[in-house]
Every structure is written in C-alpha cells, then in structure tokens.
Amino acid sequence: MSAETILKIKDLKSGYGKVQILNGIDLEVKKGQIIALLGGNGTGKSTLIKSISGLIKPFEGSIKFYDNEISNLRPHKIVRQGLVQVTQGKEVFPDLSVEQNLKLGAFIIEDKKKVLENLQFVYKFFPILKEKRNQNAALLSGGQLQMLCIGRGLMSNPSFIMFDEPSAGLAPQIVLEIFKNINRICKSGLTVLIIEQNVRMALLLADYAYIIRDGIIHLQGKASELVNDDRVRLSYLGGTVAKV
C-alpha cells in the first residue's frame, strides 16, 4: 500500500487579512484515499481548503499538488490542474438552469463532446438532476443543491476533489445519501478530501483523518483507529471513556 502522494502541505500558515488562522499545517494525501478533515467550529478547516484551492492566499508554507507548487497560483489555474473544491453553503448560479450550472462546471474543457459525456456521467450519478435539468437552480431543495454542487465539481474531470461540509443543513437521511455518493466518487478513481463536523459519519467514510485544533493538526491517524481513540471519543463523539 504505497500509493503515490498527490498533495503535500508543509508548514502552511494562512488566514484572512492580518488575522492568522492556520499556524503551520502539515498534511499529506495519497492517491485514491478519502481523507477527512475534522474539528470544531472556527478551528481553520475551511481556511485550509480555501488556501489549497487558491481562494485565499497563504502567508507562508508550501502546497504541492503532484510535483507543482500551487500555493501562489490563482484559483482558476488550480482548477485546471485537476483540483476542484465543492464550496460550502451550496453556492450555485441561482438564475441559471441545472444543466447550465453543470455545463459551467466544465468551463475549462474545450471539447464539447467531452462536456456532454461528463454531463451524462453526472446524470447517471444523480438522476434527480436529469429530471430537473431545465429548472432554475434556485428552485432545488437543499439536498439537490448539494448534489448539483458535487455534480458541477465532477464536470471538469478532476483528479482530486475537496468537499466543504457537504452535510451542513441537510436532513440525516439525505446526509447518508450524499455520503454514499461521495464513497462512489472515490471508487470511480478520484481522491477525496472532506471537511465535516459530523465526526462519526466522516470517520466511517474516510480512510485517514486529520483533526485540527487552533490552526494546527491536533491528531491524525487511520480512521478506523481514531474511532476508538479515547481523546477523539471524549471531544468529538460524545459519551464517556469506559474504564478498563
């Protein structure tokens, strides 16, 4: 199991304006894995993936995607390298139809045939989007919006996709469905990084997990081991530690 490392972050410091949020993060993602990035509110999870996707500029440190340094690139260039972020808060283009939204996801692909292929792929993945393809995106439900965001992310043939809290504000049943879909995405050959507040679910889904606290990596390890880690159980999973 020595898969290729595709994303390597070293001593990343980042934040908004003058406020530093990340105080030196080291992180590694191997090909084909699902990585979970966990932690409470305001610990810097979103800051981290915004720094990776270029939406905010890191103060210092390096982010290497395959062999390219991407910490200085603007977001549209990073997307072209195959690294896509599915933004938090279900940000779609509200006044455009579902299909137009998806096609915009493939903005960087010039080949029209390839765009249609990807569109069929996404429709196979999320049949509900095909049903609603001529509706305005503003009319979709929360779960459908999340599917649209994920579908739009898949349209540009990424090799690495990051989800920023895909379960936020959704009913538990739909959360389960979204997570199943993320699992399927990973099975189709993509590498996934997922931010979650729903720690239990995320640990069940992921291969490897990082827990952020105060802008540094607090804990890391295989997801299956972290589920049974006392510190994780106490802080994030609730319940007490059984005395042995």
């Binding site: 549209h76 997307v79 896509v84 940000e91 779609v92 455009l96 915009l104 903005f107 739009r152």
Partner: protein, 291 residues
C-alpha cells in the same frame, strides 16, 4: 423544419432591414430624423452598458465617461490631426478601449455600490477635466466636427447620416447576441450569479471582468464617435453629465437588465420620453428621478 424556421427568421430580418432603410423616405422632417439617429446611438450605448451590467453584473456608471472619451477623441483626431471619419472612428474606439480596461481595474476588488462610486469618479472627473481644458474646448465645446465623407459624397444632414448610423446599430445588436451565446457570455453570466463559484469552476475573474469592460468600451467609443460626427458636429461637456448616465441605466432598467431586446425598447422609449418632455424641462427631474 429547422430549415424553414431559419428561412423564416432570415425573411423577418430582410423585412426589418428594408423597412429601416426606407425610413428616411417616410419621416417628414429633419428634426424627427435627427431624433431617430439619436435613438440609434442610444441603442448602441444601452446594449454596450448591458454587456457589462446585464451580462457580467458589474455596476458601472463610467459608461458615460467612455462615451465622452469616444466623442472627444474622435473630434480631436479629425479636427486637430485631420483624420477622416473612417480613421477617427477606429482611433476613438481604440482610445476608449484602453480607458475601458483601466476603468475595469477597480472591479477586481470592489463590488456593487462601491464599484459604482469608483466608476462614477472616473466619468465625473473626466467631464470636469474636459470642461476646464481649453485644448478640449472647455465649456465652449467643440464645433465644426466634419461629417463623414465617402469619395465625394458628404453625409452632412440627418437623413444621410442615418445610413451611417443604422449599419453600426444593427452590427452592434448582432454582436451582442453573439456574445451572449458564446463562451464569453456564459462566463459573464456565471460571474454575475456568483463570483466565488465562478472562480471555483475555473473562470479567470480578472480576465473576464476586464473583457466585459473592454467590450462595453468598444460600444461606448463607437457611439461617442457617431455622436460627435452627427450633424451639426458639436459636442459639449454638458452632454456627458451624471444625468445622462442615469438615463442610460434607466433604459436598461425599463427594458429589463440583461435582455438585449429590452435594452432596445428601453432606449427607444426613454429617448422619446426625454424628447417629449423637453418643453417641461423643470419637471424632467421628477419624470426621470434624478437630481
């Protein structure tokens, strides 16, 4: 089916062009013809503004400044440097495009009302600069701007000038539709809808915003140049005040921001209303809602 459909659309266009080209023979007097020319120029202005404001969603008040830029550069080029209309027009468009690209720079960081204020600063300071600079005619304005000439034929009255204005208007409308349907148009709409998502799908925000401003500058420069050479060939800084700027925004709002046909209807409607209410000059403030 699709062939006959296409054929029918072409037929419509042919009919429209024939009617438009016969218009000078129907219109009874010179003033009304002059008004039609102004309407055409306003249509070019409105659909140009629509590209940056309606398609790309960038709130700009600089369009009137770019219009002034086009008119004054065209006038200066033809009076001081002896350019013919056919040389002065592309020259004016190029100068306006450069200005347009610069005006677009604040849109990288500013949005909504802040961008409007930044662009307002451009158009107002340009107007004030013109009105104090004697080389640009100051408050006397520039007069005797030569009309267009083809071989020995001079387009020196509104009836003849119409045949210069109308092809440019039709071409402008045509390209506006082309842009809307192209990749450029899709990028503009995405930027209008959500900037964060746009950059997340790989749209270069700075590049496409600049392009939107540049394209609208082409329209403004063209309209300005056409306005400058329109009989009687006179331009004055008062033609390019904030009030005119509000009028152009009004054309868009009335027609429906983002709709090309709407802009055209709005331009015709507002120009006519503006002309009809000229006698009641003191009430125009109420009618158009500016001060």
């Amino acid at each position: 089916m699709s062939f006959s459909n296409k054929y029918r659309i072409n037929l419509y266009w042919a009919a429209i062009i024939i009617i438009l080209s016969l218009l000078p023979f129907i219109v009874p007097n010179l003033y009304q013809m002059h008004l039609i020319n102004i309407i055409c120029i306003n249509i070019i202005m409105a659909i140009g503004l629509n590209i940056v404001k309606g398609f790309a969603g960038q709130v700009t008040v600089a369009h009137i400044g770019l219009y002034a830029m086009g008119a004054y550069s065209s006038a200066i080029l033809s009076i001081n440097y002896g350019f013919s209309f056919w040389m002065a027009l592309p020259g004016a468009v190029i100068i306006t495009v450069i200005a347009g690209a610069i005006v677009g720079i604040p849109s990288f960081r500013l949005q909504g009302p802040y961008l409007a204020l930044a662009t307002l600063a451009f158009s107002e300071s340009l107007r004030i600069y013109i009105s104090v600079n004697t080389d640009l005619g100051a408050t006397i304005g520039i007069s005797n701007i030569p009309p267009p000439v083809i071989f020995d034929f001079t387009f020196n009255d509104a009836f003849l000038y119409y045949y210069i204005v109308i092809p440019f208007t039709l071409i402008s409308i045509y390209f506006s539709f082309k842009i809307l349907k192209s990749k450029l148009g899709r990028a503009f709409k995405a930027i209008r809808e959500d900037q964060l998502s746009s950059s997340a799908v790989g749209i270069n925000l700075r590049f496409y915003k600049t392009i939107a401003f540049v394209i609208s500058a082409v329209y403004a420069g063209l309209a300005g140049s056409l306005y400058a050479h329109l009989d009687p060939g006179f331009i004055h800084p008062n033609n390019f005040t904030l009030q005119e700027s509000v009028l152009y925004i009004l054309m868009l709002v009335i027609g429906g921001i983002g709709h090309i046909w709407g802009c055209i209807v709005g331009a015709v409607f507002i120009t006519l209303i503006w002309d009809l209410t000229r006698e009641y000059y003191q009430y125009q403030l109420i009618i158009f809602g500016y001060d």
